[in-house]
Symmetry: C2
Subunit: 501 residues, 2 copies
């Protein structure tokens, strides 16, 4: 993240096409000539059925967001006609799946329809529906299977800190094909995760093991695994990499590795009795979603130049039988680090296999690389939570407690959306969200207060945009201790939304 | 805290007199006729030698701060004389114990001496010296003795949240006579402590017991004890109580009790296997430093109207022999709550006995009550740390991570100091401090960044004062993992200070 927006909505619209679902593994060249030969068949380890499901989900969600502008254009065109309100609602119901706020429509005759408010309202409403679907439907079986596998590999917890860039938002569910419920994800600009925050999480997990034997007993020979994920762009390495590190891949990787080692030193120095953790460094090519895994040696040390690249192994193994391909992955891992711990090797093997499906996914849908190499997010998310955001380039994420601390990240987000929306006269939609643990008394009230405080700080910091109707804020939260959907506290667009559409 | 300042510096000066130390327990009526009869003798359980030591310390520190204005007045008077710089430095060395920054003195001839900068510089310099003394001299023996006693009473940790009011800053060391090293203190406006923060501390302590057997083994039958401390004014109950609760004693007590129960519910709901904690609610009369202890019953429940008042027991027992007085305390506790747990009764007995010394301390020095009933702080402290502040009305404390979150507390502090300093043309001195754990890699850098961020937010929020030289900020931090003194990062007065005076 921290990159300048340079893409127009045209490019964004192209990337979110509504291609009909294809037979898994079949030819899928939307961009004729761009797909390489092996893409025509798919990798033997790739899971076509899963790809189809994930594609349908991504298409559904992005289509919902990308339908907003065309529908509003049509509504705008009829705003001065006689039966405007009825026709607008009919159109909205049919195309967007929800009705528009009557108050906004009813005021159109005075001057003209307030398209900015309407646009923000539609984005927020679409976000809410998408969230409700997510919490209504996520199966937990996959999470349990992965937790067992993880323990077999020697880890009782997987804590991932990717870069906060929207192009990594799908890391867990898509790129690595893991269950969002089975891992912890905290995104930070440049993957520069907060060591104190991680130490605190480690403390919680270890106490749980001691007191409750969850996820396993404290004397089980497993460790806490921290993974940091940096990123780069294979097609535009100088401009579309991680701007928190000046699009310098080497620097991004080195900084993430140094942060990992800092975390381990903090545990080893801060706690006695041989306390330690395991580490893993991964790089993602945001153009293709292929990954580099920096394989640790037996002492847990990694090196920037010592990694396995899935794009390469994919190419080498795509014509093999599945079992031979698996063996080739394991060999590549051992060649990279010959004394890697067996459990770590097993986990990495799974991650690489999983990533093959994603390589296919991208190639089948887009050819050699994504069409939206740059930013094309639909809204900004600010706060803590957003577990439901598992799609690429959907949301620009500013993980923050206060605007004072997160000002740099927010400024970048506003700059990106100035390019994406404001220059086209559309507002920046910002969702402020603070998930909480309902079992802690008063936590909901505090979440509500935090939402209000951050929303106010945002409208104050970007007062000029806000005063022109070019910035709107939705305040939401979710109780993590239940399976309830998000709750809406307030919205700058219209109090009606908070009423529970 | 959260009260309007209404006292002039005259009142403050009166309270910080330099009375010669008196024989412990002897007659001490500075305000003739104000001390009650029993004050003439002192309580048999009161520790006169300790009082003398504490008095000397308080007098030393406050005298150091209160000497600044008279000395600067004398320096101001000679600023246009020939050998000004030399004479000023001689005076400063003799009266303040340090030299003044030459750059400020040297510029006096151009227009006139910048008294605001000079005043802020002296306050910061005095704070630094006082801190250095604190960390250079605090004995740890008392802490160990109290920790053992605490465990014998059935508690492995004492976590105290008083109100952030400067009139409670001496709670631990003076009012309750405990070792600052043996307890945790986190102050919040209105004693409204953060439940999540306390849960996190509990988690750390419990993991330490499980992993390292510190302070005792996890299976030892002891509990974490959380104490909340509200306050009130016996002489001006309607105006000089806790303004966070509108000077309503009942409301202040009820809110603190509710917060305690919330914390316990958070532990009981959030953790299984019978996890729970013990609670204690105490009220302090900020006019006399007498306390009310709300004695819990065997189930840990307290009631607002069920408390032991030390002022009353003091009066009832002051003519008894020491052992009889102790027995009377225990009887009063049991009369208040007949099924109180024996360990809790023992702890409360000690606290009440300790408080008798403080009642004597206040009466011997000031008579019936403090002369500075209202605010008379010398500077504002903002951030996390300040373990060295164990003196009443020395510092207005805004415990905060960001100005965004702590804005309400900061605003009150600025309002208080507008009354105390700005109306007299003197600046508001603010110490921004973030203590850190040096064993966590990068923590010093992060503390430095936090200092800089908060200092900037303060100068932005109070830009008008700052631009007029009526607000100065010193940035400091301390590594809690060592016995080193505070480190100065930056200062708005003069970069020289940071150079290490």
């Amino acid at each position: 993240m921290l990159r300048n927006a340079h893409q127009s909505p045209t490019v964004r619209a192209r990337s979110a096409g509504t291609a009909p679902l294809r037979r898994p593994g079949a030819v899928a060249v939307r961009n004729p000539g761009a797909g390489r030969m092996y893409a025509q068949l798919g990798h033997p380890l790739s899971r076509g059925d899963e790809n189809a499901r994930l594609l349908a989900y991504e298409d559904d969600v992005k289509r919902a967001f990308d339908t907003i502008v065309p529908v509003l254009k049509r509504i705008s065109a009829i705003q001065h006609e006689a039966d405007f309100e009825t026709r607008a609602q009919t159109l909205a119901r049919a195309e967007l799946g929800f009705e528009l706020p009557e108050a906004i429509l009813a005021d159109a005759w005075v001057e003209q329809l307030d398209m900015r408010r309407l646009f923000a309202w539609c984005v927020f409403q679409t976000y809410k529906r998408f969230c409700d679907d997510f919490y209504g439907a996520t199966p937990t079986g996959a999470a349990e299977e992965f937790e067992r596998f993880l323990q077999d590999c020697g880890f009782h917890s997987l804590d991932i800190s990717p870069c906060a860039d929207g192009r990594l938002a799908h890391l867990v569910r898509y790129v690595l094909r893991l269950s969002p419920r089975a891992v912890r994800r905290k995104s930070y600009a440049g993957a520069m995760f907060d060591v104190e925050d991680s130490v605190q999480k480690w403390t919680e997990i270890e106490l749980m093991r001691h007191r409750e034997g969850k996820p396993n007993a404290a004397d089980a020979p497993t460790r806490y695994l921290k993974m940091a994920v940096y990123h780069f762009s294979s097609t535009h390495p100088q401009s579309e990499g991680c701007a928190a590190h000046g699009s310098d891949t080497q620097k991004a990787a080195a900084a993430a590795l140094e942060r990992l080692y800092s975390f381990r030193r903090a545990i080893e120095n801060g706690f006695c009795c041989g306390a330690s953790i395991d580490l893993l460094l991964i790089g993602v090519d945001t153009d293709t979603d292929a990954i580099r895994v920096h394989i640790p040696d037996i002492r847990g040390e990694m090196a920037l130049e010592r990694y396995v690249d899935t794009q390469t192994i994919y190419a080498q193994t795509t014509r093999l039988q599945a079992t031979d391909a698996q063996r080739a992955i394991m060999e590549a891992i051992r060649e990279c680090s010959n004394d890697v711990a067996p459990g770590m090797a097993e986990l990495v093997t799974r991650l690489i296999e999983n990533n093959f499906s994603q390589i296919d996914y991208v190639m089948n849908k887009h050819g050699e690389h994504y069409p939206d190499i740059g930013h094309a997010e639909r809204f900004i998310g600010a706060g803590v939570g957003f577990e439901d955001i598992q799609l690429r380039n959907l949301m620009y994420f500013a993980y923050l407690d206060t605007v004072e601390e997160g000002a740099a990240d927010m400024d970048v987000g506003i700059r990106i959306f100035t390019g994406l929306n404001v220059t086209h006269g559309l507002p920046v939609p910002i969702v402020v969200r603070f998930d909480y643990h309902g079992q802690v008394p008063g936590s909901r009230d505090r979440a509500r207060q935090r939402c209000a405080r951050v929303a106010q700080a945002i409208t104050e910091r970007y007062a000029e945009l806000f005063s022109k109707g070019l910035l709107h804020v939705l305040q939401v939260a979710r109780d993590c201790d239940t399976s309830q959907p998000i709750e809406i506290f307030a919205c700058t667009v219209n109090p009606v939304l908070a009423g529970g559409h």
